[in-house]
Symmetry: C2
Subunit: 671 residues, 2 copies
């Protein structure tokens, strides 16, 4: 087969955005056969091109510039005709058929990833931790009688006897690697050792697992980890005091292979890519472990347990278990209750025999992050009817109390995380996080994370923006921008009939016709960090409405299915980083949250890592997660039309039926 020379240029090699990690040299040209994708050629050359949609040509984030030669373009969706004419193409959709030079522009996503430092979660006070006997990881000092000609018992039996006599432990499991070192450990320590073991799964008639033998009393550390689709969070915990020694977080290394779980499953299903996906997230976790250990001055060999939560897809990818069935009807996982593993099984850089405990999930789209979240929320132990919602890239909802628990998932999509929105971005430095719009002039005021020039809009900013645009009449209840408010008369009629305008009259240059139809300018080019206007387009609004409608339909249908009126919900708990900074009033105004008294809403932050933390420390809490997983009844929303109908009715601001949002109706009347 014909071979072609493909040369890559990085637009900013000093930045090293796409360069092999740690390298600042320009990539070497590569020879590839006819038919190779530009993304594959780039991978061969050591250049990693971000493919947030998993290489499906949907997201447009892998656009590159062909500066010499040409490629066959399978799809140019998401590129303008001008871009294509200028030589731009989607790397994931471009087939090499001749020698070609490719310039890879710096990508906003990757740049952000590299320039944004670790996202450090706020330090929280650890939960009270006094039930010492309930510790999962325990240690006991043993004094063994040395062998003699009168007592030639083998080393292992000698240890087992000491464990029985001195620690009341009847049965012990041990790994081959530890057995290999046993003889020298015991002799080097002169038969005085501290045994570290995991008793979390200690049930009658079952063995405890010996993790390590230490020459002297050893500190005991553990990790609580939440693997989010976007962010991986890791707490380093002193297992004796329960104290959190360090909290670190970082973007999930898999992001470059797909922004949502579906894209990642598609990517992982490609031949040989599942091991790559596993390696990416394990690299992320190992880098977090190294950072946490450095911060707290802890020897990783003294970390004896890692308790991990995450959605079902993240868990499957972590373990390199085939996740394809999660994506395809009837949407089942390979496994929800994963048996205990060791650090060695996953190449985690802690004590190789440390237990790795993956918390149990319930279904394909209700994973261990939700069971951990429910544990951490305490809802399953109390009387009040509670609705727990975790909105990340997907939305998962749990309704119930100590008597019953039902759950569902709605595919909200990542719009509120900034994807599918032209100037959307995650909640990092440079993101507009709050917006106010003047009802007379339609001029906005905004607040930016880090108090620097804005580069985009994050979730809370988008909610505020939608709400303000709606209340000021810039958007109608159908989500259409009001063309009558344009400064210069627009020749073309609005796409849909514009509904009741709440605007006070007048007009503004901020509403204009852009490439994708009408758009509203939030920040002019001279105010922004990248020198371009920051806008919200008609398409963006549509995407955001679909996301909020999916969430609203999710919890209303769930409540309906169990015959509980939404108004009877006493507590509305919101987990996940999404909810942490949003303005409840504005979220209600756009119909994302139900119109309940504000004091019923509570933002809990990362409930997944908090639940993992509790299960890491305490055997009873660990047992409760399993109980929660088996108690939760999963309801498949796609099983009939109810969800679709509720979704369609919710594709309005705040809703088709304004009676459901009396406080919003009141605000509209005032406006």
């Amino acid at each position: 087969m014909a071979q072609h020379l493909v040369t890559f240029h990085l637009d900013d090699p000093a930045l090293g955005a796409h360069a092999p990690l740690g390298s600042h040299e320009p990539p070497h040209p590569v020879h590839v056969p006819t038919g190779t994708l530009v993304t594959e050629a780039a991978h061969t050359a050591g250049v990693e091109i971000t493919q947030p949609c998993g290489g499906q040509g949907r997201c447009g984030r892998c656009a590159v510039h062909i500066t010499n030669g040409d490629v066959r373009r399978r799809s140019t969706l998401r590129l303008s005709a001008e871009d294509v004419a200028a030589g731009y193409t989607l790397a994931c959709q471009s087939v090499v058929e001749g020698d070609v030079s490719v310039t890879v522009p710096p990508q906003e996503k990757i740049e952000r990833r590299l320039t944004t430092d670790r996202v450090v979660a706020e330090v929280e006070v650890p939960i009270g931790y006094d039930a010492r006997s309930m510790q999962t990881i325990q240690r006991v000092s043993l004094s063994l009688t040395p062998p003699s000609l009168d007592d030639q018992t083998d080393d292992w039996s000698r240890l087992v006897t000491a464990l029985r006599q001195q620690a009341d432990i009847e049965e012990v499991q041990v790994s081959l690697p530890l057995l290999r070192r046993l003889g020298s450990i015991l002799r080097d320590a002169d038969w005085q050792v501290t045994a570290v073991f995991d008793s979390a799964l200690r049930i009658p008639h079952s063995a405890i697992r010996l993790i390590d033998l230490r020459p002297q009393e050893s500190p005991l550390f553990g990790l609580a980890i939440d693997i989010g689709t976007t962010t991986v969070s890791c707490w380093l915990v002193d297992l004796i005091s329960g104290k959190v020694m360090a909290q670190v977080a970082e973007y999930n290394g898999q992001i470059a292979r797909g922004e949502d779980v579906i894209s990642r499953i598609i990517y992982a299903s490609k031949n040989g890519s599942s091991a790559e996906m596993q390696a990416l997230v394990i690299d992320t976790i190992n880098s977090l472990i190294a950072a946490a250990c450095e911060k707290a001055k802890v020897d990783p060999q003294n970390i004896f347990k890692a308790t991990i939560a995450g959605n079902s897809t993240m868990m499957h990818l972590l373990l390199d278990i085939l996740a394809a069935s999660i994506r395809l009807a009837p949407f089942v996982t390979a496994i929800n209750h994963v048996p205990a593993l060791t650090a060695n099984d996953l190449n985690l850089k802690i004590n190789p025999e440390a237990t790795v405990d993956c918390l149990p999930g319930v279904a394909s789209y209700v994973g261990a992050d939700i069971t951990a979240g429910v544990l951490s929320s305490g809802m399953e132990d109390g009387e009040p009817l509670t609705l727990f919602m975790d909105v990340g890239t997907n939305g998962e909802i749990v309704l119930g109390n100590r008597d019953w628990l039902v759950t569902c998932a709605c595919s909200a999509g990542p719009a509120f995380e900034g994807a599918g929105v032209v100037h959307g971005m995650r909640a990092t430095r440079g993101a507009i996080e709050e917006v106010w719009i003047n009802g007379d002039t339609f001029e906005p005021t905004y607040r930016v994370i880090g108090n620097i020039k804005p580069r985009g809009i994050c979730g809370s900013g988008l909610i505020a923006l939608l709400s303000e645009l709606f209340l000021t009449g810039v958007l109608d209840k159908g989500g259409n921008l009001n063309s009558h408010l344009m400064l210069e008369a627009d020749d073309s009629p609005p796409l849909q009939t514009v509904g009741l305008s709440h605007a006070a009259g007048g007009s503004t240059a901020r509403i204009r016709r852009g490439e994708h139809g009408l758009e509203y300018v939030v920040a002019w080019a001279h105010e922004t960090g990248h020198g371009q206007d920051i806008v919200i387009t008609h398409v963006d609004v549509d995407n955001l409405l679909r996301a909020k409608a999916a969430i609203y339909a999710g919890y209303t249908v769930l409540a309906e299915r169990v015959g509980v009126p939404l108004e009877s919900v006493e507590r509305f708990l919101i987990g996940g980083s999404f909810g942490k900074y949003i303005n409840v009033e504005k979220a209600v105004q756009i119909g994302l949250l139900p119109d309940l008294p504000w004091e019923q809403f509570q933002f809990l932050g990362n409930t997944s890592v908090k639940g993992a933390y509790r299960a890491l420390l305490n055997r009873n809490e660990r047992a409760r997660v399993t109980e929660i997983a088996s108690r939760m009844t999963y309801i498949e929303l796609s099983a009939d039309n109810t969800f679709y109908e509720a979704f369609t009715s919710a594709l309005f601001l705040p809703h088709t039926d304004l009676d459901k949002f009396p406080s919003v109706a009141q605000a509209l009347n005032k406006a």
Copy 2:
């Protein structure tokens, strides 16, 4: 540090005796620093020089010829002054200090190893095997309901439910690698699978271990393996019928690193060599598996269990567990009861999740080969007082019946396997296995394995030779050759006062003075396969006497310790390949076996692999081995002087006290 060029020449490169496996090219010269041992330099060059004594300079088997340059000789023990003058040196004792050329002569041991084909054990009728429910490895066909939107149970729980409902299995263990394939196995098989599991360790409240899922009914095969210090034996077994499909055996690949367990422990204790020792025996086992599978046309993926017996050192080296403490007082093992492992843990080339069950040992020198041997002998289940003896490189003895069992080990040494005897060899083609000597002419007659020209003398041949030399008066009761029978008068007086001569007078050219003192010529050069006289020397006789004295002292002291007269032993069972062809009468005549009625002796062959076979098939038998191991009381012979005294008294033919051997006294009177 100065580097020197070392060039190796193989005396017979076509033979490839020392060449890298499969290579027939001459080895490349290597550069090594000052101080490198010739054996190490050879290893670097890909030339493996046999070191039966583990590189201690004791055995003299690694002699090489320095043809250019010179080396520093640490020790020349075992080399004659002429050899040293001619440029011979011990490779394990020679230090490189300049450029040097080394010629590696073909070594008898290695040559034999390569030219002797697989030693195939005789086919034996398998034990009756009708207790199907007692099978260790079981299979069950399962029909799973495919998932649907109404039943989104995860794959694993679906399987667990089917196992509970269709096979009455309550709890199942599974490995991560099998979980990884679970989704595709179930879907490819359209939810109709055969589960293969190990129930050997199925006890109340304990889980069974799932080994594999097969798309259709799968045959079930297993391996019974005995790892001998010299020979590894492997039976391929149909686990359904109990039929032995193939029996193969091969020299243990570790032989080149030491002939006895002590030499191997020393070699393995050298930095980094324990993994090499493990790899050597695993290579041997894998080559046996491949041969057995080819012979029986069996797919190795259908082998679901391997049950392994062997002495404690072999077990430690197999698992790469530190064996150093076995060798040093107080002689303890790291572990006697090894937990169940998988083929994957040891790189055995069968189903990767197959159980590897290492049978339990009792002490450093009473290993799983003996517990398996006791199982196979049935002595622990019967009433008659039985003495079971397994003589290989070491001698292990068990005395008892269904009520009690005591055991000891005596370091007999490998003299009866041909080591430490100038013309000793193993019982393969070309070995003299039986000898008769004419009492008048002192001329021998002999029988050779394979009916070819002799190359040496094996164990049974040595026993016969000693007995005949003794009965004809060539040897006195102290083991001294009778110099008065020499054809030409010997000027030098005999080393010790010659005792009573039973010879009929006359003289013979077969008794002569050799390099190591007096010797007897068994075969003249023109009769032999290698064109050299085959002799037995005074030193050889000494070594053989020490070996037989150790064994005799072992069982007599053991009987004494428990207060049982040796005469009350009703059955004397002999296991191991050693005993299979020996002549009981002659073994009694030299005082190796006690003077009991011949019909009480029974040769059982390889009782270790037979015991492994029973434990492989049947759960009850497997449980019995564990029970046997815990019932056996180990008695350390070196704890006081009793053994040494008994040993010293037994250093005679047949014994200091002829009253202990009435039948021999009678034979002497006749002679």
